[in-house]
C-alpha cells in the first residue's frame, strides 16, 4: 500500500531519472520537500534539476513555457490551485496556443502540479478547484487522479505527454493509501470504478470516493450505481460516459465546484445533445454558487457528501418514476 503523496514523489523521481530533460521547480519544493510533503528527497537525488523558486507564479510558469519550447520538459508546482490565476496568462496565451499557432512546429511539454480542493478548512482562497477556469482553454489537458495508482501512472503520463498538462492533486487525497501497479494509464481515459445497472454516477478526485460510498448505501436499498472516474477532465472521455449511460439510462454528475460553469455542465450538455431521447434522466450535484466557507459547520454542508448524494439519488429516482 502506497500513500497518494508517495505516488506523486515516486512518479517525479522515476521521470527525473528516466529523462535528463525533465526538471522540477516551484516554491518550497526542493530543500523543504513541499508544503504537502509531496516532493521530499528529489533535490538530494537529482541535484540542480530540482530547485526552489521565488514567490513568482507568473515567472515560474512563464519560464516553464520558455524552457519547454527549447528542449526541457519542465514540471512545476503551483503550491495551491487557488494561485493559478496569477500564472494563467502564460498558460492560456503562451503554452496552450503554441502548438496550433506555430503551425505545429513545436508543442509545449510542461506539467503544472497543484494542490487543490476543499474540505481541509482552509477557507475561500486555499480550497478552490481551478478546473472551471481552464476548462475552456483549448490546448490544455487537465488531469485529476483519485487513487495513488492513478496519481503515479497519470503523472508519469503527463510528464511524457508532449502537451501542457495541469495535474491537480486533491488535498484530501494526499494521505489516501492504495495498491500501485506498473501499468501505464493514458490521459483522457475514464475508468469504471464500480459496475451497476440502475444509474451512472460520474465524478473525479474526492467525488469518486464519495460516489463509491453513496453507491454502497444505495445498494443496500437495491439501487445499483455504476461509478465512473473521469480521471482526465480535459479532454473529457464522453464516450465512456455515453457507454455506461446506454446501460443505465440515468446520469448523475458530481462535481466539487460551482453549479455554474464547471465540467459537469459540459458533460451533461454533450450527453443531452447526443442522446436526449435515449436517456431517462440526467442531473448534476455540485457545490453552491458561493465562495467556499471556512467554518467546518458550513464547509461540510457546502460539499457534496455521500449521504447527500445517496439521498439525492433516491429522491430523484422516486420523483422521476413517480
Amino acid at each position: 500500500m502506497v500513500e497518494f503523496r508517495e505516488a506523486i514523489v515516486t512518479a517525479l523521481d522515476e521521470e527525473l531519472a528516466a529523462n535528463e530533460n525533465v526538471v522540477f521547480f516551484g516554491e518550497d519544493v526542493a530543500e523543504p520537500g513541499g508544503v504537502f510533503k509531496a516532493t521530499p528527497g528529489l533535490r538530494k537525488k537529482h541535484g540542480d534539476r530540482v530547485f526552489d523558486t521565488p514567490i513568482s507564479e507568473l515567472a515560474l510558469t512563464g519560464a516553464a513555457f520558455g524552457s519547454a519550447v527549447t528542449g526541457l520538459r519542465p514540471v512545476i508546482e503551483i503550491m495551491f490551485g487557488d494561485f493559478m490565476p496569477l500564472a494563467m496568462d502564460s498558460l492560456v496565451n503562451q503554452s496552450a496556443k503554441y502548438w496550433f499557432i506555430s503551425n505545429e512546429q513545436q508543442s509545449v511539454p510542461l506539467v503544472v502540479r497543484s494542490a487543490i480542493g476543499a474540505g481541509s478548512r482552509l477557507g475561500a482562497v486555499h480550497s478552490q478547484t481551478p478546473v472551471p477556469w481552464f476548462l475552456g482553454v483549448p490546448g490544455l489537458k487537465i488531469v485529476c487522479p483519485s487513487t495513488p495508482n492513478d496519481a503515479r501512472a497519470l503523472l508519469k503520463a503527463a510528464i511524457r505527454d508532449d502537451n501542457p498538462v495541469l495535474f491537480f492533486e486533491h488535498k484530501r487525497l494526499y494521505s489516501l493509501k492504495g495498491e500501485v501497479d506498473d501499468d501505464p494509464v493514458e490521459l483522457g481515459t475514464a475508468r469504471v470504478m464500480r459496475e451497476g445497472a440502475d444509474l451512472t454516477i460520474v465524478s473525479a478526485m474526492v467525488g469518486v470516493h464519495v460516489a463509491l460510498e453513496a453507491a454502497e448505501a444505495l445498494a443496500r436499498d437495491g439501487i445499483e450505481a455504476e461509478v465512473i472516474d473521469l480521471r482526465t477532465l480535459r479532454p473529457l472521455d464522453h464516450a465512456a460516459v455515453a457507454a455506461s449511460l446506454a446501460r443505465t439510462g440515468h446520469l448523475l454528475v458530481v462535481e466539487e465546484g460551482p453549479r455554474t460553469g464547471g465540467w459537469s455542465a459540459t458533460v451533461a450538455a454533450e450527453i443531452a445533445e447526443g442522446s436526449l431521447h435515449d436517456i431517462d434522466d440526467l442531473w448534476r450535484l455540485t457545490t453552491p454558487d458561493l465562495p467556499i466557507p471556512f467554518s467546518p459547520a458550513l464547509e461540510d454542508a457546502f460539499l457534496p457528501g455521500a449521504e447527500r448524494l445517496a439521498a439525492a439519488v433516491r429522491s430523484r429516482l422516486v420523483s422521476r418514476s413517480g
Binding site: I55, R121, L122, H126, P288, L290, S295
Partner: protein, 322 residues
C-alpha cells in the same frame, strides 16, 4: 538611540503586544487540541510591527494585512473574542465563521482585510489609498507583507502605480528572513530597500523588535504620506519565533538563529525600556501580564462555547449584494 517617550504610552503598547502574544499562544494551544480547524499563521515575535504601526494610525487610515494577520487585526482594535471565534469557525466570529484565520475582514475597525494571496494586501492598500486621496481627509492606507512578497508581480506593479499617482500609502515590509521555509537570499536578488528607492519611494529600515522604534519610523512615514508626499516604504527587521504555519519543522533555520533573536523578543525589549529606562515598577508590568492572562482565559471559554453558524445560511445567502 530611540527615545522611549512617556511611560504610559509605552505601557499601553506593551499591553497590546502582550495581548497579541497571548492570543497567538492561545490559538496555538487550541490548534494543538484540534479546536482550530485548518491552519494558522502566527505572528509570535513580530508583535512590535503590528503595534508600532497601528500606534501611528488615525481614524481615517486603513490597513491591509496578510494570512499572518492576527497581530494587525488586534492592533487595529478588532474585538479579540470575535477574532478568536472566527478562528474557531463560530457564528460569533468577526466574519461569522465564513472567512477563517487567513481572510479576516473588519472594515469597522479599519481592517480592509487579511489576504491569503501573497501580494494581495499590497493591491488592497494601493486601491484604498486611491479612495483616501479622493476623500481628501488625510487618510493613509497601509499594506503589511513579508520580504518574500517582493518577488510577486503585485509588488512591482502596485508600487509603480502608487508612485506615479502619488498615493498616500505606506508599504510595510516585515522582513523575517524567510518565506515559508525558504531563506530570503536563496530566492531574492538585491536588497529590499533598493526596490522602492529605484522608483523614488522613500524607504527606511527599522529594528522590528523595538516597538518604540517601529512606531517612530511609522509615524514619520505615515505623516509624510498624509502630507501628500506620496508612497512611503518601511522594512522592519524581525523574526518569527514559531513555525510558518501548523506543520513547520523549522529545519531551515540557521543554527542558533532562533535563540539569538529570542533574546530580542519585542516584549522583553519593551519591558526593559519600561523598567530600566523609564523606571516603571516591574510589578506594574507583571500586573499587565496577569490582566491579559485573565482576559485570554475568559476568551478561551467563551470561544469554545460560542455557537456554530447555521448551515441553512448557505441556501439563503447570495453570491451578490442586493
Amino acid at each position: 538611540m530611540v527615545d522611549s517617550g512617556p511611560a504610559d504610552a509605552l505601557l499601553d503598547m506593551y499591553r497590546r503586544m502582550r495581548l497579541i502574544r497571548d492570543f497567538e499562544e492561545l490559538v496555538q494551544a487550541l490548534f494543538l487540541k484540534g479546536e482550530v480547524p485548518g491552519t494558522t499563521h502566527l505572528c509570535i515575535g513580530q508583535e512590535a510591527d503590528a503595534i508600532g504601526v497601528a500606534s501611528a494610525l488615525g481614524d481615517e487610515d486603513r490597513l491591509a494585512g496578510t494570512y499572518r494577520g492576527h497581530g494587525v487585526a488586534l492592533a487595529l482594535g478588532v474585538d479579540p473574542q470575535a477574532l478568536l471565534d472566527e478562528m474557531l469557525g463560530r457564528a460569533t466570529g468577526v466574519c461569522g465563521g465564513r472567512a477563517g484565520s487567513m481572510n479576516v475582514i473588519d472594515l469597522s475597525n479599519r481592517l480592509i482585510g487579511c489576504f491569503g494571496i501573497v501580494g494581495g494586501s499590497i493591491a488592497a492598500a494601493t486601491g484604498a489609498a486611491l479612495s483616501l486621496k479622493r476623500q481628501g481627509r488625510g487618510g493613509v492606507a497601509v499594506a503589511f507583507f513579508g520580504e518574500g512578497t517582493i518577488n510577486q508581480g503585485y509588488f512591482a506593479e502596485c508600487l509603480n502605480f502608487a508612485q506615479v499617482l502619488s498615493l498616500p500609502v505606506l508599504y510595510l515590509c516585515e522582513n523575517n528572513r524567510y518565506g515559508e521555509f525558504t531563506p530570503y537570499e536563496d530566492v531574492t536578488a538585491g536588497e529590499v530597500l533598493d526596490r522602492p528607492r529605484t522608483l523614488g519611494i522613500p524607504a527606511e529600515q527599522v529594528d522590528g523588535m523595538d516597538v518604540v522604534a517601529v512606531r517612530d519610523v511609522a509615524e514619520g512615514a505615515v505623516g509624510r504620506a498624509r502630507d501628500g508626499e506620496g508612497p512611503q516604504f518601511v522594512e522592519t527587521l524581525t523574526y518569527r519565533f514559531v513555525g510558518h504555519s501548523r506543520a513547520d519543522p523549522g529545519a531551515y533555520r540557521k543554527q542558533g538563529e532562533l535563540e539569538e533573536w529570542k533574546l530580542r523578543d519585542p516584549l522583553t525589549v519593551a519591558r526593559a525600556r519600561l523598567v530600566d529606562e523609564l523606571g516603571v515598577d516591574a510589578g506594574e508590568v507583571d500586573a499587565v501580564d496577569r490582566e491579559i492572562g485573565a482576559q485570554i482565559d475568559e476568551m478561551r471559554s467563551a470561544g469554545l462555547e460560542a455557537p456554530l453558524p447555521d448551515p441553512a445560511l448557505l441556501a439563503e445567502a447570495s453570491e451578490f449584494k442586493g
